[in-house]
Amino acid sequence: MDFDLSDEQRQLKDNLERLMAAEYGFDKRTAYAASPHGWSRELWATYAELGLLAVPFAEADGGIGGGPTETMIIMEQLGHAMALEPYLATVVLGGGFLRHGGSVEQKARLIPGIVSGETTLAFAQQEKQSRYDLADVATTARRDGNGWVIDGEKGVVIGGDAADHFIVTARTAGARRDHTGIGAFIVDAKSTGLSRRGYVTQDGQRAAQLTFAGVKVPASDVIGDSAGALPLIERVVDEGIAALCAEAIGVMTMMHATTLDYLKTRKQFGLTIGSFQAVQHRAADMFVALEQARSMAMFATMMADDSDARERARAISAAKVQIGRSGRQIGQEAVQLHGGIAMTMEYNVGHAFKRMTMIDRMFGDTDHHLARLAGLGGVIG
């Protein structure tokens, strides 16, 4: 057991930390958010140059062959800066489908574009009725000669407003919430019959609503088993949650540090507010919550590629619960201990609070994962 980073990992972390410090100040971030895509194409190119977009892919596929730890390091730094680029959507989720389910041809076709920064992906799974149930898929894919035709609607497709390709879940057989009969398809964003409506999310990111009206997909764009993709989807989403947990650690760390700075400088009644013991104890409780969350983000990272799907699910749900609880506490307390200033769009803690809140809603909120974990018999063996 060893919690230390390797030299390469430390270098990755330091490099990214430096880049974010230089390129992700409050004003720059605000400008990225206001740009057409809502994120920085230039920085995305820099990520590509630094190899960040290649990290999880196998060397044989043009990647670097990094593991969950490298993804954790990157996501934490992106979270700390509240970076807007679609790393999760493109590299972790989109890339995850290719890595775990893609054919040799699919990998060869798509990974180079991801790695070079030319191609972005988005995962189109959510439907109006589905809430957090990955098996609740009403969008259909029916056979059409050698290929498939997709009809339906997908929403809250994070990063979907600018993505070049979507990974779309669709039902190829069975009833709406059946666990079999689900396929995962690569769909070109420019496909005929596919329309999208991009929009801003509550935390200033971008997403899209997609409408599929007879969208034709060739057989070569089915990922793996056209009727048995759910285990793959669950695996990729579990990895996505682990990455999201790491991002959340970055967001929380920033909120906690910013709050501490504020407590040390803001004076009221002639004293820094951090000298009041009631405030000190709450800052201490925030620290406890942060360290517990950090531990669980590490645990999720360790278990993200576990071969036992049940053990993986227990770990991932446990981590999402801890992240959700710590994130809520740290976010609410950061705002409260700041007072009015953190209620404004002119201060980073407010944005972080919103991002943290939205992370809790992605891929299952705290209550959802608590119920899932209870159903799996808890996390203590």
Partner: protein
Amino acid sequence: MDLRFSPEEIAFRDEVRHFFATQIPAAIRNKTIEGRKFEKSDIVTAHKIMYARGWATPNWPKEWGGTGWTPIQQYIFMEELQQSGSPQPLQFNVQMCGPVLIQFASEAQKKRFLPRMASLDDWWCQGFSEPGAGSDLASLKTTAKRDGDTYVVNGQKTWTTLGQYADWIFCLVRTDLAAKKQEGISFLLIDMKTPGITVRPIQTIDGGREVNEVFFDDVRVPVENLVGQENKGWDYAKFLLGNERVGIARVGVSKERIRRIRQLAALERDGDRPIIENPRFAEKLAAVEVELKALEMTQLRVVAAERNRGTGKPDPASSVLKIKGSEIQQATTELLMDIMGPYSIPMADDDMDGSNELPIAPDYAGGIAPAYFNWRKISIYGGTNEIQRNIIAKAVLGL
């Protein structure tokens, strides 16, 4: 001891309830229920309807247009108002500045300001907080320097809610720079059209632009606009701040929210059952309801005790109302988030009045997250909950 409303009180409640249901336009009240924001015109319309009925200033003395209601009646009125979804009579006029003028202003000032204040012909806003003076309000730095018949005001106020609509602002200003910090403050009324005043909106994390910074650059204010004595403004400010008993807990607001939660939780489904049928959700909701019912009783105890204590003396136990009231209001926004789940993520369009079915989510989802963000303010404003705990510890518990 009889903890039920008397028949007279019940009749009064029914009368008030009927008034709100029939006299305040549903289009206005529904904005509350649907989580949308009031326009200026909504507030003015509702205020003037209440004013026409003689109900805009229930807490004022009868001679200045008050109703003569008992504290319990005033409580009932406010709770019914809140449950109806109607805007309140503008609180800067009715709850804050009006009572200060009634208590401390000259007759001439009363005659000049109170009638238009009561009718909302003048819209007032508050100039207390400053960037460096939050919980430590008395450390404010805006100065008013005497120059003949005028004060020359320089400085900056912040968190001025709805200042963009205001005709007048009541301000705390420093008139004696040498005095100890509470002792050099005066209470000044300033016409917002005076040259040198700049209002800059602050966008809050819910996307709203309700609060403002107000800058004063050599703003000349007639000396006759000073309330009471020079350098005694802190006393008036304390009176004002302690004067928020009735309604601070906003029990009616939370009751309305609870009903909305039940409605939406019956509408939204998780899998094949409505969310309200999820025992965990139903129990979380019930737990908040218990706290709210307890708060209602606590508030009634404070209101009823006013009869024994005498009007106008703030009950330090009202800090309990602030703490619990804010916690419950915030809890209702979290329950709404729980209902919406992933559909709370998309941002609503700026214009929420037209038909703008949100991407994938139902129309009403758009306001849920902003309300959660926005209501974090409730434990901050009006004396943070930390300040309220200090008050309880010192004034109630003697620590």
